[in-house]
C-alpha cells in the first residue's frame, strides 16, 4: 500500500510559543480580535508499506522519534491511501 500522510507538529499547550505570541500581538495591533495564536509545522509524507497498519507503525515512529521533539511538541496526522 502507498499512503499519503499529513503531519501536524505543535508545541505542547504548556510550552510558551514566542512566535505565536508575537503574531497575536501584531494581529491585534492591526485591529483584529485575535486572542491566541499557536504556530506549528505541517509536513506531507508519501510512504509505502505492506498494509495500513504497517504504515501507521512506521509513521508513529517517524513522528515521535524525528519529526517532533516529545519534550516540547505533540503531533497528529491523517493518512490516506494513494491509489496507483
Amino acid at each position: 500500500m502507498k499512503g499519503r500522510a499529513e503531519v501536524r507538529v505543535m508545541l505542547k499547550d504548556t510550552v510558551s510559543d514566542p512566535q505565536g505570541e508575537t503574531l497575536q500581538r501584531s494581529l491585534v495591533s492591526k485591529g483584529y480580535d485575535v486572542s491566541r495564536v499557536r504556530a506549528g509545522k505541517f509536513l506531507q509524507l508519501e510512504l509505502t508499506g505492506y498494509s495500513r497498519e504497517d504504515i501507521v507503525a512506521r509513521l508513529e515512529e517517524i513522528c515521535s522519534d524525528i519529526l517532533s521533539n516529545p519534550v516540547i511538541e505533540d503531533y497528529e496526522y491523517d493518512l490516506e491511501e494513494v491509489l496507483e
Partner: protein
C-alpha cells in the same frame, strides 16, 4: 591526549574550537567529519561545536543527531568519554537525549550576540573544576534559539542532582530576569548528564580564550583547563602549553 572536533555541514565554530585546543592550548586536535566512518577510541575529548548544522532544518541539532557518527559519539559518552557541546552542539546533545530538555526561540525572537555574565553553579564537574561555585564569569553568546525549556518535574531533579552547571546572572551574580537574555527556565545556560561526562552550554568558551580578542576575554580557558586536569590526574597528559 587528543581532542576531536565533530564537523557537520553548517558547523561554523569548528575552526574556533580547533584554534583553542590546538594553537592556544597546544594539544593534538583533529576534525571529525560527520560522514567519516572512523573509530573514536583514539580521542580523549570530543567537542560538538556551534553553528547551524543542516541549516537548523526541522529543529536545531535534529538532523545532526541522526548522523551515524553520533551513534558512535553516544558509545564514546557511554564509556565515560568527555563530550562538550557548545551552542548548536548543545542542541545536538538535547536532540540525542544525552542531555535533558529542549530549546525554544529566544523570547524576544531576536538573534542575540553579546557578552553575558554567567554564574558557576557547580564547580565539581570535569568541565568546571578550575572555577569556583558562585563565581561570575563573562562569556559571549550568539544564538537565536537558546531559550532552554524543561518541565517542572525534571527541573526539580536537575536542581537536586546539581546538574545545572551555569546560569545567566547580573554583574553581581544575582539570578534575575533582566539577565535572562533568552528566557531560559531558571536562567539556565548549561547542564550536565547524570554521569557527569557530557556537558552542554549555550555560551562560547572557545571564543573567550585570548586577551587579544578583548578585555576579560579569557574566561573560557577555565573550561578547557578543567578538562585537561582530568587527564593530568590520570597521568596521561602530553606536554601542552600552559593552561
Amino acid at each position: 591526549m587528543k581532542f576531536g572536533i565533530v564537523v557537520f555541514p553548517g558547523s561554523n565554530c569548528d575552526r574556533d574550537c580547533f584554534w583553542a585546543t590546538s594553537n592556544i592550548l597546544g594539544h593534538p586536535s583533529e576534525f571529525i567529519w560527520h560522514g567519516d566512518d572512523r573509530d573514536l577510541s583514539s580521542f580523549d575529548i570530543l567537542i560538538l561545536p556551534g553553528g547551524f548544522s543542516y541549516g537548523d532544518y526541522l529543529r536545531p541539532g535534529a538532523i545532526a543527531a541522526l548522523s551515524p557518527l553520533m551513534e558512535r559519539v553516544r558509545g564514546f559518552a557511554g564509556s565515560g568519554g568527555l563530550v562538550l557541546g557548545i551552542c548548536n552542539g548543545f542542541h545536538v546533545l538535547l536532540e540525542m537525549g544525552l542531555l535533558p530538555g529542549a530549546m525554544l526561540p529566544n523570547r524576544n525572537l531576536k538573534f542575540i550576540c553579546r557578552d553575558v555574565n554567567i554564574r558557576v553553579e557547580n564547580a565539581s564537574t570535569p568541565f568546571t573544576s578550575k572555577l569556583a561555585e558562585g563565581q561570575v564569569i563573562s562569556l559571549p553568546i550568539a544564538h537565536g534559539l537558546g531559550n532552554y525549556y524543561l518541565d517542572q518535574q525534571e527541573l526539580k531533579v536537575l536542581n537536586r542532582e546539581k546538574r545545572i552547571v551555569l546560569r545567566y546572572c547580573d554583574e553581581e551574580g544575582n539570578i534575575v530576569d533582566e539577565a535572562n537574555h533568552n528566557g531560559s527556565v531558571e536562567n539556565i545556560a548549561g547542564v550536565i548528564n547524570p554521569a557527569g561526562n557530557v556537558f552542554g552550554l549555550m555560551p562560547h568558551p572557545e571564543r573567550a580564550m585570548e586577551a587579544l580578542v578583548g578585555p576579560q576575554r579569557e574566561d573560557g580557558r577555565a573550561f578547557f583547563a578543567s578538562m585537561l586536569d582530568v587527564f593530568k590526574e590520570r597521568g596521561v597528559l602530553d606536554a601542552g602549553k600552559e593552561t
